[in-house]
Each structure stands twice: as C-alpha cells, then as structure tokens.
C-alpha cells in the first residue's frame, strides 16, 4: 500500500514539475516580449505548443533515436521524484544531491544518444558544444556544492534544508554569498539561457540537437527542458533558499531565480563555446574557490 501511495505522489510531483516548467517557459516568453516592448504569446502558449506537437506526425531515425529521446525525458522525471519540493519530500532518506546530478547526466546521455543517432552532423555539433559547456559550468557548480556539503556537514538535501530553517538570516544565500553568486551564474549555463545557449543556436547549427526532431520528439524535448528548469531551480532553492514550507512558496522562490535568468537571457548575446567555458572558469570559479576557502578554514 505504501508503495502505491508513493507512486501516486511521485506521479503528482512529475505532473507538477512538467506543468510548472511549461508555465515558467510561457511566462518567460511573455516577460521577454514585454522587454522587447511587444505583447508576446499568452502564458499558456507552451502548453498549446506541447499539445500541438504531440498531435503532429513525425519522422524517426531508428529505435536508438526513439529510445534516446524518451530516456532523456523520463530520466529527468525520475530525478525530480527525489527532489524535496516544499513540504512534499517523497524519499527523505536518500535525496542525495550528487545522485540527482548524476541522474540528470543520464538524461543528457539519453538525449545526446537519441539526437546524434539521427545522423545529422548539426545535431552532433550541438551536442559537443553542450557537453563542452557542461564541462564549463560544472566546475564552479561543483565548488559551490561541496562547500555547501562541508558547511552543512551533510550530503542529503533534507538535512541541508533542515540546517537552513528558521528565518531568512540563516539561509545559505546569506551565509554563503559568493557561493550563491557563482551558483547563480552556473544556473544560467545549466538552464541553457541566452549567454550560454550556443548548443541550440538556430542561426549557426539550425537549432543544434533539435534539428531532426519533429512532432512528438520535439514535444519530448520541450518536456525535458521544462522538467530541467523545474529541477535545476528546485535544487538551487533547496540549497540556498532553505526549501519552502509549502509547494506554492517553493514555486514562487523558483520563479525568483528563473526571473533573474530570464532578465539576463533577454539582453545578452550568445557566447562562443570557448569564450563561455573560459568565462565560467574565471569569475564564477574564483567566487566558488573563495567560498570554499572560507568554508574550509
């Protein structure tokens, strides 16, 4: 019985993550439009897009292509289940951050396998750019995660949230300021927002990995991006803003972070890959290292 209850709850969390992610993307498009002084699509535009995509026919390049793209989305959904969302914490005992990060790598591996098995060189170039960029932003992010680990002397997110309870002042955001800034920039890279979206550059490599995705595969890609937004911002909230008493505050906090990323996205042009990686290894890494030194000494 317990298993069945947990199953329902995890489906709920999965659905929540998809809908919140799509909502964030819709609102994001609205805000970017507002920045461009135009009206922009209705906030639920992304829901419409997803439904349209799933109703369109599509072409596929073999079972590795289908398997890969489905794996991409479902691995992220599996990772979301372990994320403590507000007061819903399905598996408190083993919500270890490293495990969630590695499950996300499973999603990237799945998507990468699917996309590059299509045989379109644009797709593989996109993937190689995305992976190089991942190498870029993972370095400061790792520095921050492990300094939080050592600061809170624990590896599981539930304990980290518990360590930050009680008022705004002892949020990690305040106690580890440099770490938060470095993580914020790394988040920009993780979400694939504008300065770091060289992987899906429509002009240079015909929208990179998505070049061969049509119909429902593009739908899966969009779902993966949505769940990815929810997951990454969710991790940041749990790490730095002390989780949330209930789901709505959690979503609002997530939106705060996403909002910053949106503003940066609307303005900055796109980096070249090596510029992006070397940027990530200059200032954010420096901040992360300073934070680590502070924590260790």
């Amino acid at each position: 019985m317990m298993f069945f209850l947990k199953l329902i709850q995890s489906i709920g969390v999965g659905a929540l993550s998809i809908s919140v992610g799509l909502l964030f993307m819709g609102i994001g498009r609205k805000i970017t439009a507002r920045i461009h002084r135009r009206y922009g699509p209705p906030a639920i535009q992304n829901f419409i897009d997803v439904f349209k995509l799933f109703s369109k026919n599509s072409i596929s390049h073999g079972f590795a292509y289908d398997l890969g793209i489905i794996a991409g989305t479902s691995a992220l959904l599996a990772a979301v289940v372990f994320l403590p969302v507000g007061q819903i914490n399905l598996f408190p005992a083993n919500s270890s951050l490293i495990m969630i990060l590695y499950l996300m790598t499973m999603a990237y591996l799945g998507m990468a396998m699917g996309v590059s098995s299509s045989g379109n060189p644009n797709a593989t170039i996109g993937i190689s750019r995305a992976l190089t960029m991942m190498m870029g932003y993972k370095v400061p992010f790792a520095a921050v995660i492990f300094s939080v680990y050592i600061f809170a002397r624990t590896g599981s997110l539930t304990n980290i949230i518990a360590a930050q309870s009680g008022g705004l002042l002892n949020w990690n955001m305040i106690r580890l300021p440099f770490g938060f800034i470095a993580a914020e920039i790394a988040l920009q890279g993780m979400l694939g927002e504008k300065p770091f979206d060289m992987a899906i550059a429509p002009a240079e490599i015909a929208s990179g990995p998505m070049v061969e995705m049509s119909g429902k595969y593009l739908g899966f890609g969009m779902l993966q991006h949505a769940v990815g937004i929810f997951l990454e911002t969710g991790i940041m909230v749990n790490l730095f803003m002390g989780g949330a008493p209930n789901v709505w505050i959690f979503v609002i906090k997530q939106f705060e972070l996403f909002f910053i990323a949106l503003l940066v996205n609307a303005i900055l042009p796109r980096f070249r890959v090596e510029e992006g990686v070397s940027f990530m290894w200059k200032i954010p890494l420096l901040l992360g290292v300073i934070q680590a030194l502070i924590v260790v000494l």
């Binding site: 590795a64 989305t73 479902s74 045989g119």
Partner: protein, 621 residues
Amino acid sequence: MNSNLIWLVFTPLIGSAIAAILYNYKFLDRLITFSTFAITLFLVFGTHVGQTYSMNLNFMGRMIPLSWNVTHLSIFMLYISIVFGTILTFYSLMDRSRMKGFLLLLILAANNWIFTTNDMVGFFFAWELMGWASIVSVLGGRKERKSRHAALYYALMSIGGSYSMFFGLFTLWRLTGSFSISSNLAYLSSIVGVHPWWVLGIVSLFFVTFMIKAGIFPFHTWVPMAYAYAPDTFTPFLSAVMSKYGIYGMLLFLPISLMEKGMPTVFGLPWVNYIFVWIGVITAVLGTVLAFFQDDVKKLFAYSSLSNLGYIVAAISLFTSVGVTAGIYHAFNHLLFKGALFITLAAVISRSGTSKLSEMGGLWKKMPVTFFTFFIGIASAAGIPPFNGFGSKWLIYQSMIKQHLLFATILLFLASTGAFLYLFKAFHSIFLGQLSHNYDNVKEVPVIGQIVEYLLMFAMIFFGIQPGYILRPVGLIVKSVGLNPLAVMGNGYVTGMFSNVDMPLIGWSLAISFVFGFILFFISAKHKYVSQEDNYTAGQIPQDWGLTPETYQFSWKFYEPMEKLFAPFYRIKIDGFFRGLGDWTRITGSAVKQVFVGNAQIYTLFAVVGLIILVIAGWVA
C-alpha cells in the same frame, strides 16, 4: 595444509605448456586457454579463507620456505580476476585476434600465485613471470612497429619496477632474516614508531613497483601505448585485471601505515597519505584531460582506466573505513565496466578493421547488441545511478568530504564530468552518426560474443542495482585490515556517511518514468522511419549534380573548442623525464663504445694503465 592452493598455480602452468605445444592450431589453442580458466575457476570455488600451505624450495643450498595463505582480500581478488578471465577467454574463442593463449595462462598462474602467496620470493617470482609474459603478449599487437615500441617501453618500466622491489625484498630479508610477508609487515609496523624514515624508505621501494604496474601519475606514461597497441583481446585483461595487481600490492602494505601515529598529520591524514591522495587526484584529472582529444579509441580508454585508477588510489590512501571500501568497490566496478568496454571494442575493431575514431561511425544499425553493451558500459563508466559505476564514485565522494578534502573532491568531480565527455565522444564516433558506405556489410558479433555481451550487460545492471553482494565481501576485507566495515543494510543499499542511496528505488523510479514515456510515445501521432541520408543538412541533393551521396560523420576534432583551452597545458611533456633518461643512456652507450676502438696498442695501453693504478693502490694501502 591444503594442496588446492598448489593446484591453483600448477593447472595454468600445465595448461600453458599444452597451449604452447598446440600453438599453431588457432582454435585448439584458444579452447585450451578457456578450459584452463574454467578449471581454475572451479578450483577457486574450492579455496576458502584461512587455508595455508607451505613447501620448501631447495635454493642457495638451504631450504627456503614458500608459504601460501588465503585472506579475504586474496579470495576477493581471485574471484573477480578469474571470473573475468573466463568470460574474456570465452569471448576470444571466436575472435581471431593475435592473442597467444599460453602467455595468458602464464599470467593466470602468476595471478593466482600473487594473490595467495605469503612469502616474498614467491611474490617476486610470480610478479616477474607476469611481467615478462605480458611484455611478450603486448609484442603481438596488430600494428607491428608500434606494438614493439610499446612493448619495449612497458618492458623497461616494469623491469625497473621489479628491480626496485628486488631492493625492498632483500633489505627486508637483511633486517628480519625471513621472507614471509606477514611477519615482515608485522616487523615493519613494530619499528614504525622508532624510526619512521626507514619504514618509509622500504615501503616506498615496494610502492614504486605497484605504482608502475597500476600506472599511477609519475609512472603512467607507458599505459596508453601498451593498452592501445596490445592485441585486441589481451587489452581487456591488461587494463581490467592487471592494473589491479598494483592496487593489491598497495592494499597489502595497508596495515603498516595505519599505525603511523608519529607522523605529522595534514587535514587529519598522515602526510604520506595526503600526498598519495593528491597523486591519485592528479592521475584522475590527467587521465581525463588527455583522453579528450585522442583519436585512437583504445588509447582513449587507456587514459580512462588511468583516471579510474587515480580514483581508486585516492580513495584507498585515505585509510578510513569508507575510503578503503570505496576504493576496493571501485576497483571491482572498474574491472567490470572497463572489461565490458574493451571486449565490445575488440568486437568492433575486429569487425570494422580500424581503431581510429574518425574512420568509424553509425555502427549501431549493424551491431545492435554490441551497441547496447557499449551504451551500458559508458553509462556505468560515467557513474550513472542504475548502473554499477555510480555506487563506488558516490562512496568516494562521501569519504573525501568526510576528511574535508574539498579541493580534491572538486577536482575528482571535474574528472568524472570529463569522463562523461570523452565517453560520449567514443560512443558517438563508433556507433552513432552516419554509417559510412564501406561498413555496409559489417555483421553482428557471432553468437558466442553475443552471449558474453548479454552476460556483461546483466552483470553491470545487477551489481548496479544490488551493490550489497560486493559490499559485503569488501566489508570482510576492511575488517581483516583492522578498520570497522561499513554497515550493509540489505543488498540494495549503499550507505554513505550522511545519507544512503537505495539503488533499487532509483531503478524503480526510472522504470516507471520510462513506462510513462513509452505510453506517451505510443498514444501520440504515428512516426515513420527514414533513412540516414534524408535529414535536413541544408544542402543540395548530391544526385542532382551527378555526385554520389557522401556521408558526413562529425567525429574529427570533436571537442575543438576545448582543445583551444587546454592547448597551453599540452606543451609540458609529462614523460619528458623518461625520454630524457632513455636518450641519455643512448648517448653514453655510444660514447662508451668508443673505448673499444679496435687496435691492439690501445688495449695494451689500457692493461698497463690498469696495472699501474693497482700497483699505486697497493702502494698506498
């Protein structure tokens, strides 16, 4: 007293003799190799902890006691190495690679002897035997000239290593008068408090040998050449099992350093261990960085096993219960997924005929089973949860954080991300992308190979989901070494310091989300399959211009931007020291040759001068 141990060593020797005789009947030779491995496996089932056996060797006019005893560690190592060897030889039944059976059996004999011996002479004899047998088998690689250079380089390093063990062996013998390892170790740990520098000197003599064989930072330069140019079916054994001998040696000397109380500690670790942790971390990062830009696939995976060994050394040299468990667990995992990767590579190379990444591509259509094994192999090598690589990497991070080694953990995490990068590059360049037309008639691996691949796939997933089966014996080893073992709560759990990971739960959540994915996939509009040429590459259809459609596989300079970033690091040649030493000896050699210039007067001059010197010496004394 159990003669079973002796048979462990002698059956492979007899087997290798038979294999040597039947050398030119290719299939018979491989059949014998496989059956000998199977018999030895059967024998290992018979051995159990605590068995001892001693035999006297008539040497130097007196009787030297050769003794064997079986500890938890040796049983563990015996099982994993022989099981893997059986799988490998079963696979190589059908692979016409140039691997010589009798050499592998010699190595197997040495392998059994090293793991069970309790005396230095036996250990050294088996170490040297394994050394030269592997040198000669590396010699038989596909590319003549290159495998000869690789074999020579490897020979110099491993012989240099065994000579340093020679020194350590006999200095210990001079101090304690006996050859048995256990009593010598006890002696060393007793005098460690009195003058630690002495103990350090002797232990470092042994550790040089183990680091060379395992391919750790300062002595890693031979690893890529030897792995890349060894015969295709020998590299799995070379990289998966033989690199573990170095680790086994380090584990042997573990108890001594535990007692080092007198040592000044850094970060709560004796400073020696701290250095070794950093050596491990440097090897891990070095392996990853060098692996990015390799075009030869076996060299790429050689660097990857280099970096994985860096992980193991970093974890073991922490000497905490979590660290050692993580190290040994990762050693097992590395053996499993690296073995699987190299076996699939052997299959791919034997089918496609080339080992260059830029020449392959799109093979997943032709070799689906190999494709899936390779996929699961790189997934577990990158440490993705449901597969077996994750548990140990996670434990290593836990152990490092517990010791507050923050920067080492960051670098290790960086190395593991880098691992994902070059693993995907290999995966893409071989299997994904466009299938070039000269591979149109590539067939799948024959049935034997497929059975092996299914077996390996199952093993990787099983040990990923149920790590308990490995953690329990590893716990016994840790207890035997004197640390309190990790609590193993049921088969599915990997318990770390702060939280634990329930692997079956991850498996379940993945499975369920996959089910949802498939449901969504099938209820939405139908899709049609399309050939590889029909993709939007924004180009003109070649047929219209009378050209034959060319496939364009993006695999040359896969991480070109990254190369620009790492270019400055590549100028420092790491193996400059060893090349310099080689050139120096060559120059002195030719200089010395001038001595024998070839006419009688000079020789008589030498003789007279020698005589005069002796007379003066006599006069002075």
